[in-house]
Symmetry: C2
Subunit: 195 residues, 2 copies
Amino acid sequence: MERLPDPRLDATRTQALDAALTLLQEEGALAVTHAAISARTGISRSTLYRHWPKLDALRNAAFGRAATGPKDEPRTDGPLKIDLTWMIGRLVMALNETPWGKIAPQVIAAAATDKQSRDLMNRWIADRKGDVESVFTAAHARGELSEGAPVEQLVEMAIAIPYFRKLVAGLPLTPEWLDAHVSMICSMATKTTSK
Amino acid sequence: MERLPDPRLDATRTQALDAALTLLQEEGALAVTHAAISARTGISRSTLYRHWPKLDALRNAAFGRAATGPKDEPRTDGPLKIDLTWMIGRLVMALNETPWGKIAPQVIAAAATDKQSRDLMNRWIADRKGDVESVFTAAHARGELSEGAPVEQLVEMAIAIPYFRKLVAGLPLTPEWLDAHVSMICSMATKTTSK
DNA sequence: TGCGTTACGATACAATATGTACCACACACA
DNA sequence: TGTGTGTGGTACATATTGTATCGTAACGCA
């Protein structure tokens, strides 16, 4: 007979990963250790080793936890500028206000040597690209785009620039900046109705 | 009286940092330790600790070494597309073929907690931005730019996208991609002579 | 060439991080 | 109420990171 899963398993895992996430944000990936989590949660070191026998596994679990979040349903009602502002605004919010914004650089660095981190990063990017692309697709269906609009390049640009500003250059992503960013993209995508 | 500097000082420092750079590329920042460099160079562990008493100092020195390189003199003879292709081509080459391409992600991650890494990264970006900007300035002087061309945004875009593709998304920077990238920027910057 | 200085190499040692092994206890389910 | 399973505590093994000390070798200078 199958036994029901012991609720303690999930409870300790959740507690531990919560603490790991905090450590990740506050002190970086190197601070995520069995000992540190034990000190912070009261969970014994042996229990933590039982759940994640290796340090890599523990850190990957923490990364994974940081990347999880509610999926954004893209708005595609139009017009393009409104949809894009909302969609890229969600990205900006994720970078500004969720753990992911602080942790992404460490995932990027880890991706150089660790496949799981690479997969995690790629999945995150693919999701965002998909969202932005669907906005363009809808705009195209409404006839809002100019003939040869380079949609693929525009999608990449829409995402790459906020990423670069925030993570690489350490520049803020303000509402004013967002407006200018979206405006530039729209001016490239739509029929040149500009003055 | 001042004594001349002992040549052994420079010799060991150079040897050690060469090995550190190799380790950095091949096995990541975590592999850069006094012990590893000692094993690789034959320099004794105690000597390495004498030069860089802390591990952070050693890694920062390795980062610094990775970032050094000959300064690119921007070409500003025009036309814009030629100058931009050359200038961004230099950036692409640096990312593709120098240690910096492999190490930048680790510097970015370290920048979250370490001021020296932050400074290093900012200096690198500022240099590149300055180069690209001077290309636009020259083009403006020649009257190649359209009235309200958003030069600042274009400069950022020129740099952010290759960075994102290579470091974050792990995508290749091919000559074909470079051409498309530059073309897009030019079409935004120049008087809309496009059909 | 010889002398004082300085860098280097070797070793021993301390402190911490990273696991492993084992046992007693407490909690969950039947 | 028993039986299994997760947990906590401790002891222990090993590697990493850093310190301290000593003799030796290379260097600059006279």
